[in-house]
């Protein structure tokens, strides 16, 4: 019935069809909003991925013992348990205390370093997980591992699994949006749909008014000419379909053009910040050149959540310029710069989500592929470090103002309530109402899942109660 409606109405030209009819026409629309397995705390996710490696002992994991023993070597036994990429021999390296002071924030008094003064004010929102761990100490495989559960590219990432499991609430925008500073250390495989259908792939939003690839009309083609061309394509397709009887695939293709047309109309509106007040822009630091870029992205993330986008992955750091990983040679310079670019925008995002009543239903995640070693690399640096590191979550019923788990005295190994990437991903799914063991896709003879046989350390209960 609806499908017939749609086909009748598309004769009237693009944009004339009711969305319900359109979606019914794309009858097997893989992005239709779906019910989760169980009650959900979060409807949407904003994943702030600080790629390149943020030092945990300089941000969210205060280590008094490390400060005390700064300049001394680690015990040989302990040093032998870790691998580093540039420090040739960890048994010969010395500990380096944090150059930043840690201070309590919020009513909870959660300790946050001076790198994040604005976030510290939102400390009561943050549940810091201090016991993340893995053993992958190189960027790309570690990013793939955190994102997809495998250090080899080719498996679907978290955002793809989530959109596969839940669909999206706004068909005129992509379900899963990725924003980066341009080049990343892992490339597109980090937000790839892997073996899931391509429709679950993350859509990269570029800067500027045309965020989606190929969104703009060809040069010189006016909007009315574009619509006329689309209408003519539709005319050709209707005639083609009529000669063939019913075919849901051909109908879905007709609907996909209608959706593309709507996307061309809606996406530029979604990314246009002109309607936002100066106060809001200021909140995100858009008035300051240092924070402007990341601030825009964070504000855009809120606008997308508002419009029903399911999953937003926001990368900080690049492979060729602004880079957390410059901490190899310059811990202070790299972290002052990168935290400076992101601190205020992230704090602003939390405040703004709250003001819009979205924080309760939006899970905000801050994390990366690994931390940095408590050891010194050269005179001024810190090397990669996956054996114990921090991340935090906020919103979506997560009780903030506290830390979960702990590393050892020096921040070397996760020691208490250890969680790995699978546990974290299982937890994120659970907050979205998805059971990581039931969210499966049959591929090559197996019911594949994000967490495979892992994820038993899922810890939602610790976050929400």
């Amino acid at each position: 019935m609806n499908r017939r409606n749609f086909l009748l109405k598309t004769g009237a030209g693009f944009g004339a069809v009711a969305l319900a009819d359109l979606l019914a026409a794309a009858s097997s629309n893989p992005l239709a909003s779906k019910q989760p397995h169980q009650a959900a705390k979060a409807k949407a996710v904003i994943y702030l991925f600080m790629h390149g490696g943020v030092s945990h002992v300089d941000t969210f994991d205060y280590k008094p013992e490390l400060q005390k023993r700064s300049g001394q070597p680690l015990s040989v036994e302990l040093a032998k348990t870790i691998k580093t990429s540039f420090i040739h021999d960890p048994t010969k390296a010395i500990l380096r205390g944090s150059p930043w002071e840690f201070k309590p924030g919020g009513r909870s008094g959660l300790l946050v370093s001076d790198l994040y003064p604005h976030l510290r004010e939102r400390a009561d929102d943050l549940a810091v997980i201090r016991s993340c761990h893995s053993n992958i100490f190189d960027h790309a495989p570690a990013i793939y591992h955190v994102s997809s559960g495998s250090q080899f590219p080719g498996r679907p990432c978290l955002g793809s699994w989530v959109t596969y499991g839940l669909g999206t609430e706004n068909q005129n925008l992509p379900a899963f949006v990725v924003m980066s500073d341009g080049s990343t250390k892992s490339g597109p495989p980090a937000y790839s749909a892997g073996f899931l259908p391509a429709v679950y792939q993350g859509t990269v939003f570029r800067g500027g008014e045309n965020p989606i690839l190929h969104l703009r009309n060809p040069v010189g083609v006016t909007d009315d000419a574009q619509k006329a061309t689309l209408d003519f394509v539709n005319q050709l397709d209707q005639r083609h379909l009529a000669a063939r009887g019913e075919d849901s695939t051909l109908e879905a293709r007709i609907a996909a053009y209608e959706l593309a047309y709507r996307m061309q109309a809606e996406a530029p509106e979604a990314v246009d910040l002109a309607g936002e007040s100066e106060a809001t822009k200021k909140l995100y630091g858009i008035d300051d050149p240092k924070t402007e870029d990341f601030g825009r992205k964070c504000l855009l993330a809120r606008r997308l959540v508002e419009r029903g986008v399911r999953f937003i992955q926001l990368y900080s750091g690049t492979n060729v310029g602004d880079d957390w990983d410059d901490a190899h040679n310059d811990l202070i310079g790299s972290h002052v710069k990168m935290a400076g670019k992101t601190d205020k925008p992230i704090a602003g995002l939390l405040a703004d989500l709250e003001a819009h009543g979205l924080l309760d239903s939006t899970l905000v995640i801050w994390g990366g592929e690994f931390g940095r070693t408590p050891l010194a690399q050269g005179a001024n640096g810190r090397d990669h470090h996956p054996y114990g590191f921090s991340m935090w979550m906020a919103g979506a019923g997560v009780q903030g103002g506290r830390a979960i788990g702990a590393t050892d005295d020096f921040g070397v190994h996760a020691a208490e309530e250890k969680v790995d990437a699978h546990d974290v991903n299982a937890t994120i799914l659970r907050l979205l109402g998805l059971d990581h063991e039931r969210l499966t896709y049959l591929y090559q003879g197996r019911d594949q899942s994000l967490t495979d046989v892992h994820g038993q350390g899922e810890f939602t209960a610790k976050l929400v109660s």
Binding site: Q151, G182, I212, L213, A225, D237, R244, R253, Q444, G445
Partner: protein, 805 residues
């Protein structure tokens, strides 16, 4: 006597004369629960084993069948239902029940038959009799007709000639049929069968065929031109293997030979570079050696990829699932994974020299050039250094602490103090000296020397080209590194040592040591010959099923890389078996299979579903009609270039990099000018898609959005998705806009545009609609030429262009 019959006899005889429980255990359970494999740690080769049980506890409680897990499992009263390959006959279950009830006595002397697995795919196919169906002469049609009759379905009428030539040309070439070819076929005075046969022969004889069917194979073997991960380096000579695959299909290389060359060309034909190029199969994957400081793990992951890919591609078995534990559904014990891994353990990377005109292991031209280059580079440094230093110091001297900064730069990196290091970091930008600055400052005599060097340099590169070699593998020698079963799949937890051997489910057996005179282990040779022998129950079936799938969109077995016990969606097993037997008898000729399948009426049916088909068989599993399909990613690009008249049919060679807009390159790892080095010659940019560079960490956006595989793991079947970003790509990407313009230029009239896009003339009402569209667009855009480009863009976005009936 076939084993099945023998076993049946045994059973009949057994039950008549008192077959014992141990006999049933021996024939039906021992394949997995023997001393060697002991799946789930359970051994059923002795009374003690049965009593002791395995991971799940005791299997047999003498005197009490109902509390014996063995009985409960075989009678499906408890999980796991055993055997996984299908329930035992009632008589066998009864024997086991009675045997346990009577105390589970063991008389080993009575056991004679071989253990066996009942799963159909593990039994060699026997050509079933072709069903007798009135009025049907083609065997393929007879098998299909029998199923259609069973399902109460009527076949669709034959498609018309225009539909057929478009279908066959896309199917065999991945390209549309031209207007002229279509016309000629439509007006061929020969009868339908004869004209069709001639067309298929013509298409098979063209080299376009290998480009299309080679692409199918490249999907399977996870082909790519780079190695993946953050640096994603070029795998410079991977394309030699790509060309080898295309060439193999074009020559209709017998499939058994094709298998053997890829798996063990180096061991079987060590003196034949063409055959050895096949071992590029092991080298065109994502390079698992990219991670550093974890060499053991890298090696293990590489071998795991070989096991996983080889078992899926050639045998349609998911041996990869048995890496950490025994297979959950198939009789594949964990040990089999490692027996297979041991086959690949001695393989190491090698360069296959395509011609032996140079000294073995050296490419003399490269070798000599590199020596000369080092000399030139040394000379260059000597000329440049003094100027660079002088110019740098001049710049630094302008700083207030200039002298200190200069001193910091002069100090060797490892001797600098932290303060000096900081000075260097701070002033690095300022200290940079450009090529132009040096040249401007250069003395006449140095400039002359530089000039001479430049000439020498250029002349060295006049004959430069890719080396005459392909990536391949050989064994390290006749001694292999040892292989250990990795406990829970963790290579750092080695268990027992495992030797190379064949899969238990297919009869098992060890691979012997090599003869004394060879410097290789022959392990891969044994594997290749074992896979490519006519008796292997899977090899021919798996390949004919793939061929069928690429023709019809769906295989007869719908899980083309999994013929294990979960492969339950089998629409026509008789036909599959019959085709498999034909395939072997034809000398493993893939082209013979095309001829056989395409000559059927089943292949030539209309794609419009006949009445009732949509209700009774919505997925069209029984093929009452042909499956309409969307063009694949490469076909869309190639067909677009074909329509615009720009397609360059040059074959083979190094991968082509086409220009992409900056927004299309967004997100590429590293610097685009390093990672996306556009081929200098624009004529190359319109080559067929199979020849374009396939980066692992960055897919061509158009291919990505249209479901092209990423080359990470074997891809046996592409998704066929329908999304809004696809429409945006076809509407607005620079490539599509450029080709629309080219088509409009090439085909100024509506007739011509229709002919080039659809291979037919427009109908009068279409022509009228197009004319009115043109005049309206001309009004909007103010220009007839631009209006024509809009018409072309519409045609290239239409379903008639994008779908094949």
């Amino acid at each position: 006597m076939p084993r099945r019959v023998a076993a049946l006899l045994l059973l009949v005889v057994g039950s008549a004369f008192g077959a014992t429980g141990p006999e049933v255990l021996h024939t039906r359970c021992l394949q997995c629960h023997n001393a060697d494999t002991a799946m789930s740690e359970l051994r059923l080769d002795s009374r003690d084993g049965a009593l002791a049980g395995g991971k799940r506890g005791a299997a047999v409680v003498p005197g009490s069948p109902d509390s014996s897990l063995l009985f409960r499992a075989v009678s499906h009263q408890a999980e796991p239902h055993m055997p996984p390959t299908g329930k035992l006959d009632a008589a066998e279950i009864a024997v086991l029940r009675d045997w346990i009830a009577a105390g589970a006595k063991w008389d080993a002397a009575a056991i004679s038959a071989a253990p066996r697995s009942e799963w159909w795919a593990f039994q060699a196919p026997e050509a079933p009799a072709v069903p007798e169906v009135a009025g049907v002469s083609h065997p393929v049609d007879a098998f299909v007709a029998a199923k259609l009759a069973e399902q109460g379905l009527q076949p669709a009428p034959p498609a018309d000639r225009r539909t057929l030539i478009r279908r066959a040309t896309f199917d065999l070439h991945g390209l549309p049929a031209s207007y002229d070819e279509t016309k000629a076929f439509e007006s061929d005075p020969a009868g339908d069968d004869e004209a069709w046969k001639a067309l298929v022969e013509k298409l098979l004889a063209s080299e376009r065929y290998g480009e299309k069917w080679g692409r199918h194979w490249l999907d399977l073997v996870r082909y790519g031109d780079t190695s993946g991960f953050e640096q994603d380096p070029y795998n410079l000579e991977a394309w030699r293997y790509r060309d080898y695959v295309i060439d193999s299909f074009n020559q209709d290389k017998p499939y058994d030979r094709f298998v053997k060359e890829q798996l063990a060309g180096d061991e079987i034909w060590p003196e034949d570079p063409a055959a050895r190029t096949g071992t590029g199969y092991y080298r065109v994957n994502a390079n698992r050696d990219m991670l550093f400081k974890v060499e053991e793990q890298n090696r293990y992951e590489k071998l795991a990829d070989y096991v996983d890919t080889t078992s899926k591609v050639f045998l349609a078995l998911t041996v990869g699932c048995a890496r950490c534990h025994d297979h959950k559904f198939d009789p594949i014990p964990q040990k089999d994974f490692y027996r297979m891994q041991a086959i690949f353990a001695p393989a190491v990377n090698d360069r296959v020299f395509l011609e032996y005109n140079s000294a073995r292991f050296y490419d003399l031209a490269w070798n000599t050039r590199d020596f000369k280059l080092r000399n030139i580079a040394d000379h260059l440094r000597a000329i440049y250094r003094p100027y660079e230093k002088k110019l740098r110091d001049e710049k630094l001297r302008t700083l207030p602490d200039g002298a200190q900064v200069i001193e910091a730069f002069e100090t060797a990196k490892e001797k600098r103090s932290p303060e000096q290091e900081e000075l260097v970091t701070e002033n690095e930008e300022l200290a940079k000296v450009g090529d132009d600055e040096v040249r401007a400052a250069m003395s006449a005599s140095d400039a002359e020397q530089l000039d001479a060097l430049e000439r020498r340099l250029v002349s060295l590169f006049k004959g430069y080209g890719p080396p005459n070699m392909a990536p391949g593998v050989i064994d390290v020698g006749r001694e292999s590194p040892r292989t250990y079963l990795a406990i829970r799949g963790n290579p750092e937890a080695p268990g027992e040592e495992v030797g190379p051997g064949y899969l238990t489910a297919l009869g098992g057996g060890d691979i012997p040591d090599p003869p004394l005179h060879v410097q290789t282990t022959y392990r891969r040779k044994h594997l290749a010959e074992w896979i490519a022998r006519p008796e292997n129950p899977l090899t021919a079936r798996v390949m004919v099923n793939r061929i069928w799938q690429f023709h019809f969109g769906e295989g007869l077995v719908e899980t083309p890389s999994d013929f294990g016990t979960r492969a339950t969606r089998v629409s026509n097993r008789e036909l599959l078996d019959w085709l498999a037997v034909q395939f072997v008898e034809s000398g493993w000729s893939v082209k013979a299979m095309h001829r056989l399948i395409m000559s059927s009426e089943t292949y030539r049916r209309s794609s419009v579903a006949p009445a009732g088909a949509a209700e009774k068989d919505p997925a069209n599993r029984y093929l009452s009609h042909f499956n309409r399909r969307r063009l694949q990613a490469e076909e869309i690009r190639d067909a677009t270039l074909f329509a615009s008249g720009k397609l360059n049919l040059e074959m083979g060679g190094e991968p082509v990099v086409v220009p992409l807009d900056q927004e299309e390159l967004y997100g590429i790892t590293g610097t685009p000018s390093d990672r996306w080095v556009v081929t200098w010659d624009p004529k190359q940019h319109t080559r067929r898609s199979v020849y374009l560079l396939q980066r692992r960490a960055f897919q061509h956006p158009m291919f990505q959005v249209f479901d092209a595989p990423d080359g990470m793991t074997t891809c046996e079947r592409r998704n066929e998705s329908t999304t809004a970003p696809q429409s945006l790509t076809l509407l607005n990407s620079r490539f599509m806009v450029d080709q629309s313009q080219a088509l409009a230029d090439e085909a100024p009239t509506v007739e011509q545009a229709w002919r080039m896009s659809f291979g037919r003339d427009p109908r009068p009402e279409e022509k009228a609609a197009a004319q009115s569209f043109l005049s309206a667009q001309q009004k909007r855009l103010g220009d007839a030429e631009r209006a024509r480009a809009e018409l072309a863009r519409s045609l290239l976005n239409s379903n008639e262009f994008l779908y094949v009936d």
